[in-house]
Symmetry: C2
Subunit: 126 residues, 2 copies
């Protein structure tokens, strides 16, 4: 092994979530193919928003999450369940009351989508 | 709700893996942003290969997986751990002896990458 071939490291999801406390402040866990995998701790309700150019995957690792959708039935997610919210679909995540969630979406996707809010947060590296 | 706004459905990961038995034959679980999330049941060793244009995420849901890398240290993954194998890196997954794995990679990524083998498999919809 040389400096030019650094090790490829596994990421332990539980340790990732244990490494920070802040809610609604996603941490970057991995980058691939122009997409980002983020760890997010959710608590209570978020803001209504949509993403014009991004489908968004929510994978609940711990806790319980309801994703409210403006124009159709809500989606309920327990731990071990995921959903894809297609681009353009207005949605509001509501943690019941908390949820550890893996997000998968294109790089540069803003957490509050089309909305600028006090909840708008830059992504920090894990 | 109208026919034009179909429900958005949650996917239960455990149920997904319970729904098929075939090893080394990934099932398509979700599509987003030109990427695909697949369920794969792995057993024993796969073939050495690489993907010229695809970074590949392996997330172990159950079991144990070693990803051997030709030019650097192996990566060992227990349940709840993931790794990204960057494009171009030759690798060989080896389940110990079985692993249920979520794969995340661009649509049209062939499971055996640059190699045509008896293990080359089309992706079926879950």
């Amino acid at each position: 092994m040389t400096d030019e071939t650094p090790d490829i490291e596994a990421v332990n999801v539980a340790e990732g979530f244990d490494s920070f406390d802040e809610t609604w402040s996603p941490r970057l866990a991995a980058e691939l193919n122009g997409q980002e995998l983020k760890f997010a701790k959710l608590e209570d309700e978020f803001v209504w928003h949509h993403h014009d150019d991004a489908d968004e995957l929510f994978f609940v690792v711990d806790g319980e999450l309801r994703i409210e959708l403006r124009d159709r039935d809500d989606v309920h997610l327990d731990a071990g369940e995921f959903v894809v919210v297609p681009r353009g679909v207005e949605h509001r995540p509501v943690a019941l009351p908390t949820a550890d969630v893996l997000l998968f979406e294109p790089a540069e996707t803003r957490n509050t989508g089309n909305v600028e809010s006090e909840r708008t947060a830059d992504v920090e590296r894990l």
